[in-house]
């Protein structure tokens, strides 16, 4: 019994018992439902965590070499004079309840922004080539236009904007056309367009789409009220760390999803593997979801929709300094810039308020400016942004730059832009196809764009991920 052979032969009854146990484990494992999540943005990671909590095995397949999607942080500065900044989504507001809960869960601190604290400090206004405040008439014009938009948002059914009595008319024009017809001053028109451009391209986006988006993510909800210590981009990392190590596969773009016949599993294909699943959550922007091959093909209405959901051509730019030097000059750091080369919109102070943190100015290169700078490369954009800042803030804006960083979302292959929008005629023709699951509920859509509130924000991504997880778990368990 001491030698190997004897041990093997004589312990046969024990071996059989082991085999029987092993088989029952295999059976259990096979019975445990499995869901594949496509995309490791925060929506996909939230979905994956929730699926695990609901007793479902999960594999997350991510195209990029990092988790986070349109949440992405980087560290600027060094030693005590450093901080994390967000190259993507950044702020949180008081009605974004699921995001606030996530912040609390990880015991992360949030801070009010400097412009809310700096009582009496000045916000710069750059107009027609000089620092110049708008006239009262100009300001009134802009506010009147905003008031009109606000009134219209009260008439939108957020879950079905196509049911609006004037849906056809509102979906027939672009944001830019409506703005041109409603603003009386060049100033009012410029800032109406720029305000819209934080969400979508006004030249291309349907006015109904814009109204829908203003309704589901109202400025009254103060979505930029707080900054997050350590940056919003930390949450994908924190969530991924809670998943089994092998559950998240990076650099594995999914190019094909094939439904098994009857109760057979779905197969999800990457260049490196095939993964079987009882249900699939696709947690990427609608346009990116449309790049995947589905077998059987998605219904024509859904595919037409996915062809009409471009992502907004907007880059986020962040310039970091050793200190927020503008504060000593009694400035909020905010500047409204009308018409420079790269910066044509709001610049804000996005500094972490912890002592010693770098001073950070954040802005966007979007619309016409993005078209100008899209393909120019980071170095050229850096030079243009700094030149623009110097005009508005003075020479200090180009002195002692610690870091120039950007979220080049149009340049990121697996994003393609900031947030989705729809051109005219899309909501009223194909809007119904945005959210419903396919394949008898086994192919479920997540990602911030399908959220019924705060679509395009972290809050929407979390809510959409949670809902998708519940729907997919139900489908994977054979439920309706």
């Amino acid at each position: 019994m001491g030698n190997f052979k004897g041990n093997f032969l004589l312990s046969a009854p024990m071996a059989w018992l082991k085999v029987a146990l092993l088989l029952s484990l295999v059976a259990c494992a096979a019975a445990r439902p499995r869901v594949v999540v496509v995309g490791a943005g925060i929506s996909g990671l939230i979905a994956a965590r929730e699926l695990l909590r609901q007793g479902v095995d999960v594999t997350v397949l991510e195209a990029n070499d990092r988790v986070g999607g349109r949440l992405w942080r980087t560290k600027v500065g060094s030693g005590a004079n450093s901080a994390y900044i967000d190259l993507g989504a950044q702020w949180v507001g008081p009605t974004q309840l699921r995001f606030l809960a996530l912040i609390d869960e990880f015991k992360v601190e949030k801070f009010p922004t400097w412009q809310d604290i700096a009582k009496g400090a000045k916000t710069l206004q750059w107009t027609d080539g000089a620092l110049k405040d708008p006239t009262d008439a100009e300001q009134k014009d802009f506010l009147d236009v905003q008031g009109k938009i606000q009134e219209l948002t009260k008439t939108i059914d957020t879950n079905a904007p196509w049911t609006h009595p004037d849906a056809s008319a509102l979906d027939a024009i672009t944001v830019a056309e409506w703005a041109a017809a409603n603003a009386d001053t060049e100033f009012g028109l410029y800032w109406t367009l720029n305000n819209a451009r934080s969400r979508c391209e006004p030249k291309t986006a349907s006015f109904l789409h814009y109204l829908w988006h203003r309704t589901i993510s109202s400025e009254g909800g103060e979505p930029q009220k707080w900054l997050i210590d350590g940056a919003a981009g930390q949450f994908p990392e924190l969530l991924a760390a809670q998943l089994p190590r092998s559950a998240v596969r990076l650099e594995e773009p999914v190019h094909k999803i094939v439904m098994g016949k009857g109760a057979k599993p779905i197969t999800v294909y990457t260049s490196k593997r095939k993964v079987k699943a009882d249900a699939v959550v696709v947690a990427v922007p609608p346009y990116q979801a449309g790049r995947i091959q589905y077998d059987p093909a998605l219904p024509a209405s859904r595919r037409q929709l996915l062809m009409h959901t471009p992502l907004h051509n907007a880059l986020k730019v962040m310039v970091s300094y050793p200190t927020p030097w503008w504060r000593e000059k009694n400035l909020t750091g905010s500047a409204y810039i009308m018409g420079l080369s790269a910066l044509q919109t709001l610049v804000v102070d996005a500094s972490n308020p912890r002592p010693g943190s770098p001073g950070v100015l954040a802005s966007f290169i979007a619309g016409e400016a993005a078209v100008r700078w899209n393909d120019a490369g980071k170095d050229a954009r850096r030079a243009a942004v700094l030149a623009d800042l110097a005009k508005v803030y003075g020479p200090e804006a180009t002195a002692n730059v610690v870091s120039y960083d950007e979220g080049d979302w149009p340049g990121e292959q697996w994003a393609g832009g900031a947030v989705f929008y729809m051109p005219p005629g899309t909501w009223t023709q194909f809007g119904k196809a945005l959210r419903p699951a396919q394949w008898g509920g086994r192919l479920v859509w997540a990602g911030t764009e399908v959220a019924e509130k705060w679509a395009g924000y972290v809050e929407g991504a979390i809510v959409a991920g949670e809902k998708a997880a519940t729907d997919a778990a139900s489908a994977a368990n054979g439920g309706a």
Copy 2:
């Protein structure tokens, strides 16, 4: 020397000679440039044939289980009472010189359409629920609007519509808006929109896009002058038959194209194989080209363009009868239908004039009607189309139906719709990125949409394929 061993050993010098010859052949094969063509539509097949003629090895990778793309024929009827009909592109006109040359090359006959021959025959007009001819004022309104469009097309630079002095204004509105502002009667508006809908969705397409498309494919060029004996869909089959059998691989969607560093080859990935190439021709619609992963990623401007190039939501429907029975009733077979359930546009006689050929009525389900019927399935569409035809043509339209066939282009996963179009703001922001090759000229775009004339037609597909072949051959040979 008679035994195997002796033979092997003693013939060693001969063997070395063979090895040397073999190596030189391998070296020759390696030196022969290779191009991969993505997509076996007529543009890709023309490119492939031209590349072979220029001494380049070619592999064509096609996603679908057939060649032809948006050219596709099927046989209706049986025996002597049968004919091929086109589920996709069908007609040819006198200025489509490359298509005419292809027709001649294969010694195929073409025929004038019945409506051009049937002198004195009546074209039906269905308006507001009854057969009713428009008033003179209504007809004049429609023609006046067409005249205005015609005048505007004279101002368009077909290669660079964004250079038009009013480009911003023309690209700011949809076709539907322009039509609403320019038609005075309900009739004039309806038919202006429907005329546009043969090309693009007027609710979503930019007016500048429509003007561009009217300019490069003018109705004055009579693009529907002739029908083709055996159907236009025969040419992809004829072209594919001229290529080496192994050169065309069906059911192999390309999901990734990776550029080798420096002079290294490009690698093209399908689920079944990797193919090395010195240059690649992507001969699919722009939206479909954007579904492929490129490494390195395409420039942001190009990717933004590809996000803004939906394919038109239009199905082609064909109803076949034993004979063109309407001709005996002195009808052209054509009918202008205003406002039925599935058919809301022109119906035409598309019968082959050979004696014994079936009578064929062709039309489209597009726009609002397509949205209604997209996901309903072929049987439901058949019932709706026949019910519509019965209203206009009488009960004979539902008696003795030999075949109901459709080109469900929005339902075809690898097409996605009929022809591409651009929503407002696209040509002026991203139009420049439509045609230029990438990766130092090694990644070349074909497909009808990149043609400078007759884009969206067979003619454009051929011209684009020929140009792409020359460009790709030059790049594959190391040329500039």
